[in-house]
């Protein structure tokens, strides 16, 4: 009996156990119950339960990812995340807070010494961003198990953090034009460090092919702003605002008090600010999804694993609908449906990922990288957590 037992035959099985690789996302029931109970447990524990909440969600979402019929398993625990958080608070944030308060007490809260200290902290935290991202990725990979084999990221978080900080500095200096090149450098660094078991991923390619799309999005954004700005000016000149003012005045007159007129103005201004912000987010998300799709697809092409290549099929439109759906889920459930957002993102990536070629799984040995006892404290503390 050599065929698989579980209805996932591998038709292209080559003689020595090399298999084609197929990704699938199969939803499991129970995420709604997890979302609701997590929400209430978070509430009554002042969000301290979040570490366990996150873990339950990941465990569930990971188990929906199937590679050649076998589900992926998340083996992290809430306790590890909790301890990671406590350690970071005790070793980084508590000492910084105490030093800051001490300086404020000795030199006064407006002294240059204190301002210098706060600038130094800001700088330190910025340099820690990349470090936090890398360490969090390492933790998640080491807790991701398939066929009993776990992932690993044994490289240096410090050197990644240097590159990350460089990319944060270059972005504003180059008006964003360093982004494709720097994103490629960061993806190259982290992908080349990634392992499944003892077998490395590799990444090589150039950022050149990204620039046409980047230019399109960059000028598209400028154009969108010009259009919105022009529209606003036209609207202003057309007297629509005077009309609005009249309407607001009328609202105020109904209650016959100048206070309520002021309140109506305030409401009008707040509404306008929210509208402008939403417009800004919408423009960015829509215009830049063209670039994001290109980058995702290209970076997948640049990636290889044990002789196999990758393809990713992102499109701008699918990214926009993914984003719109996620926003709607968050807004209309007041955040309770966050786990479903994470599931949608995972499903998006899994369903659009293809492996080209075959992988000899029998030759992949268990990772020898050391397993950290705790995880992700920094990324939680810096509030960078995307997943």
């Amino acid at each position: 009996m050599t065929s698989s037992l579980f209805g996932n035959p591998s038709p292209e099985k080559s003689p020595v156990g090399a298999e084609a690789v197929k990704f699938e996302y199969i939803s499991q029931s129970g995420l709604g119950a997890i979302a609701v109970s997590n929400f209430f447990l978070n509430l009554i524990t002042l969000w301290i339960y979040r570490f366990w909440a996150k873990t339950r969600v990941r465990r569930h979402i990971w188990s929906g990812v199937h590679v050649n019929g076998e589900p992926v398993e998340y083996t992290g625990t809430g306790k590890e995340l909790f301890i990671g958080f406590i350690v970071i608070v005790a070793t980084v944030f508590l000492p910084l807070a105490l030093i800051g308060l001490g300086l404020a007490a000795y030199y006064g809260s407006e002294s240059p010494v204190l301002i210098a200290f706060q600038l130094a902290i800001t700088f330190l935290l910025l340099t820690l961003y990349g470090f936090a991202i890398y360490r969090a990725r390492r933790y998640r990979l080491s807790r991701t198990v398939w066929r009993g084999i776990r992932g690993a990221l044994p490289g240096s978080a410090l050197s990644y953090s240097g590159k990350y900080f460089g990319s944060m500095l270059l972005g504003p200096i180059t008006a964003g034009w360093s982004t494709p090149a720097m994103n490629l450098i960061l993806a190259e660094h982290i992908t080349n460090d990634m392992r499944f078991g003892n077998t490395p991923f590799s990444f090589s390619g150039r950022s050149g092919p990204l620039y046409a799309r980047y230019a399109f999005c960059w000028f598209g954004t400028v154009l969108a702003y010009l259009l919105v700005g022009g529209f606003a000016i036209a609207l202003f000149n057309s007297g629509a605002f005077t009309e609005l003012q009249a309407v607001l005045d009328k609202l105020g007159d109904n209650t016959a008090a100048s206070d309520s007129r002021t309140a109506a103005y305030v409401v009008g201004i707040v509404a306008a600010v929210i509208a402008i912000y939403l417009l800004y987010v919408a423009i960015h998300s829509i215009v830049w999804s063209f670039y994001t799709a290109r980058e995702l697809n290209l970076f997948a092409q640049y990636t290889r694993f044990s002789g196999a290549g990758f393809e990713f099929h992102a499109t701008a439109w699918s990214l926009v609908t993914l984003w719109l759906g996620n926003m709607a889920l968050i807004i209309f459930t007041l955040g309770i449906a966050q786990p479903f957002v994470e599931q949608r993102v995972m499903r998006y990536f899994i369903e659009r990922l293809q492996v080209v070629g075959v992988v000899d799984f029998a030759s992949i040995q268990q990772s020898q990288a050391q397993l950290d006892k705790r995880g992700e404290g920094l990324i939680d503390a810096l509030d960078l957590d995307a997943f």
């Binding site: 944030f93 809260s109 029998a362």
Partner: protein, 376 residues
Amino acid sequence: MTANTHNAEFFDGKSAMARLVNIQVRRDNLVISQNALPDIQWPLRNVELVSGGKPGQALRLKLRGDHGSRLTLPEGPAADTLIAVAPSILSAHKRRFWSGVGIAVASVLAIAAAGYATMAIAPQVLARFIPDEVVNSFADGLEKSVIKSSKRCDSPPGRDALNKIARRVVSGADDPPTFSLRVFDIRTGGKKRLVNAFALPGGRMVFSAGLIENAGSADEVAGVMAHELGHVAHRHPEAAIVRVYGMQVFMSVFTAGQGADTISNIAGLLAVLRYSRAAEVEADAYAVEVLDNAKVNPKGLQTFFRRLLKKNTGTGADRPGKDSSALKKRIEPFTDLFSTHPGTSDRISSIKPRAGGTDPAILTDQEWNALKKICS
């Protein structure tokens, strides 16, 4: 189950290769038999569910403490038999859930306890250990925000009269703390004279000119002074500094450092200088005792409170049966000194007249008039 049938798939945790195996339950062990390899034994009580276990799902198992080995049983008789023999396999994740909830709830309780200790117990204990530089730095900042650009009231005859009251008050204290006392013509936004007294860190006492203006006798001034001396003696202002520190450390820890850059000590200290009810009761008790020892009629403090109440509520003293917090609410906008004295009416009634009868007057009429003119 015959030995030749493969009824499960096994991953040994060393390579990603799937192995077809036969499983059996022998005594308390799950025995995994592979072709041409020695059997592997998993004690049943350490077997945990990875996923599955519901109808239509394969059963995926691991051994507790083992990071790699995984066993997958397709839905069918082998999986059913195993669950029937060792139903505990299905309940491991429930235990995990409740242990998570338990740690989170315990942490919240620990934080609440730490918060209580930070706010209620530690400040009073740590107050005596704050370095003088810190105390003075706080006191300078507070003084600035209290006095602003008010004129100092320091006419020599007035000052002499005030010193005489101070000497009399201190004579009643067993171990009087060192303190300084200055009068400033502090005005409210509407240019009305403020009626207030402050005990700042480092024993710096500040009276407003309005307080002296509103006092009916030297006994009343002595009463307020003794009360503020109570705050100084019990180190309430210094405890407030510790409380502000504690609050900021606590906030920045709880928000994971995000509160660390919002250091606004003075504003925070002003907020917590509104002493607790317990602190006010302590200061009152101190005042009554000191006044009694100094043979000053403690009724002076009472008269002053009553006068303030009358001025602010237009009702005279506390009406019996009237809720003291409602009363407090009505005087609240007036001054922070007295509005922060919770249950003013209760306190008024708790001050008993001195048993020893008439006391020698603190000031002569001439001295009293000089004190009244301290600002000129």
